[in-house]
Symmetry: C2
Subunit: 174 residues, 2 copies
């Protein structure tokens, strides 16, 4: 967000109030147990998820099969159960729950220059795609220009670009 | 936007580029001939549509049956054919095209204190609903709190609140 000179919408009090109510309606629509973290604005402004990001980068590099379950578990901690994700202890809890092998080694790599560089590279790649927020989805197709989609509300448009029907929330598959 | 302390997203160059591309994809999805006005940012920052807004307010007050066709025609001028809407002459063209009765009287009322006050009242009503942008949709239901929706991308969520299926773009009905 800093790299794209963007400002978080939550800094405007009216937008912040709307976002909370919009989130609630979206949760109902998608059938997801979303709950705004109590200390959301503190979390947003304090780089609280930096270690979790680096952990995911290390995981992607060393044991990519666990990337998606770990990202999902971190999501549930932050966005559903309002549990912390910013301490090493929290990341250990995720590893234990998912029985991730070699988790001590992965965690010890969080502060390594290699992992820090990988995360920087990912961030630079996102900025090269002109990203200014998340989720930022890049659609790559052979012979066509990459197309970017910002936000969780662009799936109907994304499906339309692909020429397939958007089926709405697949609640049975969560 | 000023009353809500909001800033337009187009002021961030990355967001502006994304908005143009997002608009193009939305136009395909909805089957609408949307085309960004060449001088969009000048129009945005110059209150260019103030007379058109006042005209619509006068029309709603005097001849409400024409409100929707006139709003639609003004939309097509600005968002599809890149024709001006900021001069009285442009509003006359809309009146002629739609054969709006008493249009001279309506146009003469654009600068009247009564019409200015009606528009101010509408704006204050929107601000009371915590609006910070447009379109701002208010869902009113008996015995329930009003629900607000910001943006043209919230129809699936709005339908979900109403317990009805969102059918996607109804291209045959445009």
């Amino acid at each position: 967000m800093v790299g794209s000179d963007n400002t978080p919408p939550g800094l405007n009090p009216k937008k912040a109030a709307y976002m909370a109510s919009d989130l609630e309606k979206n949760a109902k629509y998608w059938g997801l147990p979303i709950k705004m973290p109590e200390e959301f604005f503190k979390l947003m402004s304090s780089n609280a998820n930096l270690k979790a990001q680096r952990f995911l980068v290390a995981l992607e590099h060393e044991n990519p099969d666990y990337l998606r379950p770990a990202a999902r578990e971190l999501w549930y901690r932050m966005w559903s159960r309002d549990e912390p994700i910013h301490e090493i202890q929290n990341i250990k809890e995720v590893c234990d729950k998912l029985k991730i092998p070699n988790s001590d080694k992965l965690i010890s790599e969080i502060n390594s220059p290699k992992v820090k560089d990988l995360l920087k590279k990912n961030t630079e790649e996102a900025l090269a795609y002109e990203a200014f927020g998340a989720p930022w989805i890049v659609l790559k197709r052979e012979g066509e220009e990459d197309a970017c989609f910002f936000g969780g509300d662009r799936f109907p448009i994304l499906c339309n670009e692909l020429g397939i029907e958007f089926q709405g929330p697949l609640k049975s598959k969560i």
